[in-house]
């Protein structure tokens, strides 16, 4: 083994504590060290994925105590895949924002990068941890760095968005604690595998109610329908790359948490139906709301919420194909939505309120950015040969295999709306005349590299989906096999 999952948490935290010191000596270090750390995390995740695919799941215990006693980190094909995705995106976000707002002073930029790094770390922690309370701690790490990052720009209305986020987040964390305590009071353990094993012992009523609290608490971060009022505001007001980080990293972690609950911890068949219902409502409301947006980032935000609804639906199908499709969707959504946020922020750079009409005629001024935005739009609509098509196909195939004909119809009808609002923007980029004479900002070279990387991934996966389908397949198998998870965590010999 080349490394250990615990380094995903230890190294970034170490770096976060070191950065304030090195920043006093060498100012650029506050920007470079986070990048190095994120690159290290990505490399580590790749090397561990290689190990995992040969030797099976890594269960790493903390402080030398075997699972139920100690906290453990589980690096399985499933969690490893998400880790890889998140760290990659984290690195991309760093790369994109390396020269971001150079005019901002030293101290905020230090805070920005520390918060960004810990946002990624927290999300990775949520995914890797095998302990329910530890998950709560990581969720809070993610939330607090999220609040900080959202209100990074002092001149925008960002504090308002952050406060809404905090309001919801605080309520959510309260109910998360209640749910954890209900489970603890009944089973006397906090380890997910242990809980899953003992779950049949629990009183049915308490089981239902605790799951309800869990859904409320995690649903806030997962942006499910009535709990996602904060999300569009945050996406709009946070710096552009942070929108991508939220869509690509934080939400993924929250979805992971809810999936882990339903697939591993609880043994309700009905929970899958709940997933489908919630996902469907979220999908419909978000996509219909996105149709009438007049601000670009808000539109992207609602679209992102809608896609998460689709992911929930795919997980709710409950078969291996469904999980495969959901993971594929998560992957695609992370890449594509980041691409859209990255390129979209340059299209409406420095514009007040970021109206969609500001993109008019940008195709002439920012050709590469516009092309990338177009590729992203086409991909997220699900047009072949871009990557979005394969995931949409996977979702529909999975739904069809479970005989959910009406579900397919609804997904497809709503997808048409999605196509409409994205194409409206693309049409504006190329076929409308730019009215006002405001200056446009050319993307800096690092931002361009990040966008092009993502664009290439979209194209490559579109032409050759098998590049990741092996990972997805193993991940789906891993998630479906609940017994194996319990066995691997509880019988680790250390």
């Amino acid at each position: 083994m080349v490394g250990s999952p615990v380094l995903f948490v230890a190294i970034p935290l170490l770096a976060a504590f070191i950065i304030p010191l090195t920043g006093m000596i060498w100012k650029n270090s506050v920007r470079i060290i986070p990048g190095l750390v994120l690159a290290f995390m990505f490399a580590l995740s790749i090397s561990l994925m290689g190990y995992v695919s040969e030797h099976g799941t890594i269960v790493e215990v903390i402080a030398g105590w075997k699972p139920p006693i100690g906290i453990n980190l589980v690096f399985s094909p499933f969690t490893g895949f998400l880790t890889m995705l998140m760290t990659f995106l984290g690195f991309m976000v760093w790369l994109y924002s390396y020269k971001f707002k150079r005019n901002v002073d030293f101290e905020p930029s230090m805070k920005y990068f520390i918060l960004l790094m810990l946002l990624v770390t927290g999300s990775v922690g949520i995914v890797l941890t095998g302990d329910i309370f530890n998950m709560f701690v990581f969720i809070e790490i993610v939330s607090i760095s999220g609040y900080g990052l959202t209100s990074f720009y002092t001149r925008r209305d960002s504090a308002e968005a952050a406060f809404k986020f905090l309001f919801m987040g605080a309520i959510a964390s309260t109910f998360l604690l209640i749910a954890i305590m209900i489970i603890y009071s009944q089973l006397g353990t906090l380890n997910i595998a242990d809980i899953a094993e003992k779950m049949p012992l629990m009183d049915n009523k308490l089981k239902v109610l605790s799951l309800v609290f869990f859904i409320l608490a995690i649903g806030v971060e997962a942006e499910i329908f009535p709990l996602n009022g904060w999300a569009p505001d945050v996406y709009t007001q946070a710096p552009g790359p942070i929108g991508a980080a939220f869509a690509g990293i934080v939400v993924k972690a929250a979805i992971y948490a809810s999936v882990r609950l339903v697939y591993t911890m609880y043994d309700f068949g009905g929970a899958f139906d709940l997933f489908i219902i919630i996902g469907l409502i979220t999908f419909i409301v978000a996509e219909t709301t996105a149709l009438r947006q007049d601000r670009l980032k808000r539109m992207l935000a609602y679209s992102s919420i809608g896609q998460m609804g689709l992911v929930m639906i795919a997980f709710g199908i409950g078969t291996k194909e469904g999980v495969y499709a959901a993971l594929f969707l998560m992957f695609n959504h992370a890449i594509i939505k980041s691409l859209l946020f990255f390129s979209g922020s340059y299209l409406v750079f420095n514009k007040k309120n970021k109206y969609i009409k500001h993109v008019n005629g940008m195709g002439k001024y920012l050709p590469i950015t516009s092309v990338l935005f177009t590729i992203g739009s086409f991909a997220i609509i699900g047009l072949p040969p871009f990557s979005g098509f394969w995931s949409k196909l996977a979702v529909l195939t999975a739904a069809a295999d479970s005989k959910m004909v009406i579900l397919i119809a609804v997904i497809l009808i709503i997808s048409i709306l999605e196509a409409v609002y994205y194409l409206r923007v693309v049409n504006r980029i190329y076929f409308f005349d730019k009215k006002e004479k405001t200056e446009t900002q050319k993307p800096s070279i690092n931002a361009l590299i990040a966008m092009i990387c993502l664009g290439i991934i979209v194209l490559v996966i579109g032409f050759y989906p098998d590049l990741i389908s092996g990972y997805l397949d193993r991940a789906a198998t891993d998630l479906m096999d609940k017994g194996n998870y319990i066995k691997e965590v509880l019988t680790i010999n250390k």
Binding site: F17, I18, G148, A159, Q186, N191, L206
Partner: protein
């Protein structure tokens, strides 16, 4: 109307919560093979730490504590970011009146003993109730007292950063030492000593001291930042 909806939903929520917790019952243990007994016995037999809560916080669930420390660090970082102003905007501290002489003298008198108490609490965290968080908070209240009392009492920002960072680095370094020497993050690498001794529990004491310093520095930093906020 809105209030009515809220009240009704709160009523229903309250009913369900009471229902749940009455069902659970007070002072009853529902599980037989939980981790509680394992913690108690391991703490006594292996770690030789008398305060089981401390051994849980620092060792068994030390990862939580690392996260917790990070949350505090994040809070102070985020706070700094949120309330950031360019240097020349920094205003006076918003203490309206200077305190009376009695308060000033009393504060001066109390401050060292408060810090000492805090230090005592976190150093003895593994023996008696208390620990790094509690001690750190106590120290921070000492600084709060000074900041409230003296209009121009200032804490060196850089010094806070040093404490904060070094304490954090110490925590993680101990963890990494455990990882590299024993193969598990935060694993105890020092001899555990005898129960109820000051030098018992291996790295637990050191970690709690680091936590204490870190919490004290961070809370002081947070208080300092907020107090310096003025329109």
């Amino acid at each position: 109307m809105k209030i009515a909806i809220i009240l009704i939903s709160l009523g229903i929520l309250g009913f369900y919560l009471m229902d749940i917790f009455f069902g659970i019952g007070f002072g009853v243990q529902h599980f037989s093979n939980g981790v509680k007994d394992l913690y108690l016995s391991n703490s006594k037999d292996i770690l030789k730490v008398s305060n089981v809560v401390t051994s849980i916080v620092v060792n068994f669930r030390g990862f939580d504590t690392l996260g917790e420390v990070t949350v505090l660090f994040l809070a102070s970082t985020a706070l700094g970011g949120i309330l950031y102003k360019k240097r020349h905007h920094v205003g006076e501290r918003s203490v309206l009146f200077p305190a009376s002489r009695i308060v000033m003298s009393g504060a001066k008198l109390l401050f060292p003993s408060i810090v000492l108490l805090g230090a005592y609490v976190f150093i003895h965290g593994h023996l008696s109730p208390g620990g790094g968080f509690q001690g750190g908070t106590i120290i921070a209240t000492g600084f709060l007292l000074m900041l409230l009392t003296y209009r121009n009492y200032s804490v060196s920002h850089n010094r806070l950063v040093y404490f904060e960072s070094l304490a954090g680095i110490l925590f993680i370094s101990i963890g990494l030492v455990g990882y590299f020497s024993k193969g598990s993050f935060l694993e105890n690498v020092l001899p555990v000593g005898n129960m109820n001794d000051l030098f018992s529990g291996g790295v637990i004491g050191i970690i709690y001291i680091a936590v204490g310093f870190k919490v004290a520095a961070e809370l002081t930093g947070i208080i300092y930042t907020v107090l310096h906020e003025k329109d």
